[in-house]
Amino acid sequence: MRAVALATLVAALACVGSAQAANGWWTFDRQTNIDSTLSWRWTYPPSPAQYTRSWRAGSGTSQNECRRAEGWLPAGWYSQWGHWNQYDGSAIRGRVWWLQDKYCWDGLTKRTELFIHSEETATNGQYCTSAYDDPFCWERAADYYSLGCIKLARPSPVAAFPNDLGNAHSTYHNYGGSSAHGASTDPYELYVFG
């Protein structure tokens, strides 16, 4: 096991310079609503060797994937429909990836408006007031909760969380993620484990 990990590490370091040929995709391993794992995986075709970087991530406030606006992200494969560095929505801002809508396991309930994101401003900053929970400030572990999206932490003036959003963003662009920004259909996908 240790040898495999070492080989993976060596291979990853050796291949930094040839990132243009990489083919990457997201995976999300649901464990709890506030402590799951988002990974970026990539290969250098035709080599089957697979490389991975992972971050703590959250999703939902319930583990019933069929509960709209509460349940975590439904299992299965997703297409990615866009990526923005300065998305300026009303509820979600900053560096985001937009995911396709998805039926949950009952085959009848559709989850919509799904993203990978954090809590930051459109300009990738932090807006932290004295409120208990500012929507664009990462204050505490409870910020991993979402209404269904995948959420990553980032540092803020009021809490020293790791820069997982920034690392995921750079990893995505350096190792096989699309260079496109805005709404675009690209082959890079997400798999959510059941």
């Binding site: 039926y103 009848l108 919509t112």
Partner: protein
């Protein structure tokens, strides 16, 4: 001393049976009557005064889930308005859209609001490209209608809320701007709906007439309206800060009462939308089953948490005037299950009417209750 011990034992047993213990769960005995209230098994509807009926298609609202009822009886009991969903191409939840050859803008399904008339057993489309509806006590009907008829891949399904003063009246647009709305209920003459934003973020809205929209509760969801329709019991989950429930005056938006859910029994956790308010009691789904609250002047008091082992109960309703019995439903891999819980005995009975029913495309069949959440209302 002996009396004290007996009293203590009685208290412990009472707590175990109700507030702090897991509710016993038993399948309905062969001789048991069916579930109370109105419910569907696929397209089959039970509980109507006219007897069981089969609708043209199962009542489902995939773009709303159970934020709003799948079907709503008219106040006079004659009609059943319901949500329908016609897939234009199958969408396999295990596969990505790319892997299924689904491209941006491809039409995937058409939602519609349909109307079943118990007087002549007719079943017709009332509004195509529409979903989520609310009947007012005087028969006015509100619903959301998409700007386009079809729900399409990677296109946010936006539209407007329309109100018909009666079934024969022309629809009047009540929204000031196009958006993602989900109609829920009437609170007297005020229409209550959701505005959905990125990430399925919800705001509870109040419409006082055409173009007169206001936010009643931001980043919140509706549990229930008071019997007189003057107040709304709303919830916020942990994604919006401390989990709380609040009572809000519908006319003014003023907060009348608030309860921090982190200060009550931890098993409650947070509560879900689509519950019920009867008398001074409110029932809502909780993280571990069902939570019951009592509403007083300016106060919300936690009353009871019924722990029920299941994937989570949805749309709990008081089943009788005393508030002792509560109905709800849950989804399981083998299909939907209906529950009736006795708060005093601390137990629930499971019902699986039409146990061999099958859903579409191999998915489990839905068994789900339906109701009219508008207030005030004399349900037919």
């Amino acid at each position: 001393m002996a009396l004290n011990k007996l009293s203590l034992l009685a208290i412990v047993l009472a707590l175990a049976a109700t507030a702090c213990g897991a509710a016993r769960e038993a399948p309905a005995p062969q001789s048991a009557a069916g579930p109370r209230g109105l419910y569907t098994v696929g397209a089959d509807v039970f509980g109507l005064a006219s007897g069981p009926v089969r609708l043209a298609t199962p009542p489902v609202a995939p773009l709303a889930g159970w934020l709003t009822p799948a079907a709503v009886p008219s106040p006079d009991g004659r009609y059943l308005a319901y949500n329908a969903w016609k897939e234009l191409r199958h969408d396999d939840p295990a596969l990505s859209w790319s892997d299924q050859g689904i491209g941006r803008g491809d039409p995937l399904a058409t939602p519609s609001v349909r109307l079943y008339d118990t007087s002549d057993e007719s079943d017709r489309v009332l509004a195509d490209g529409a979903f989520s509806l609310a009947w007012r006590g005087d028969g006015a009907l509100a619903y959301f209608k998409g700007a386009e008829r079809d729900y399409r891949a990677a296109v946010v399904y936006e539209g407007d809320v329309f109100v018909r003063a009666s079934l024969d009246a022309d629809p009047v647009k009540w929204t000031p701007a196009r958006g993602r709305y989900i109609v829920v209920a009437w609170a007297g003459g005020t229409l209550v709906a959701y505005r959905e934003r990125e990430g399925e973020a919800l705001d509870v809205l109040a419409f006082d007439g055409p173009g007169r929209m206001r936010v009643l509760a931001a980043d919140s969801a509706l549990v229930a309206l008071s019997p007189d329709g003057r107040q709304a019991f709303v919830e916020q989950g942990p994604a919006e800060g401390r989990p709380t429930v609040r009572v809000v005056d519908v006319a003014t938006g003023r907060q009348a009462a608030k309860l921090d859910l982190t200060r009550i029994e931890p098993a409650v956790g947070a509560v879900g939308y689509a519950g019920d308010w009867h008398g001074d009691q409110v029932v809502a789904s909780s993280a571990s089953g069902l939570a019951i609250f009592r509403i007083g002047p300016g106060t919300i008091t936690f009353d009871q948490n019924l722990r029920i082992p299941s994937r989570g109960l949805s749309e709990p309703r008081f089943a009788d005037a005393s508030g002792r019995h509560v109905t709800a439903w849950a989804s399981t891999p083998s299909g939907g299950v209906l529950f009736e819980c006795d708060r005093t005995a601390g137990g629930c009975t499971r019902f699986t009417p039409l146990p061999h029913a099958r859903g579409v495309h191999g998915f489990p069949v839905w068994r789900r209750t339906f109701y009219n959440p508008s207030r005030p209302l004399q349900e037919g």
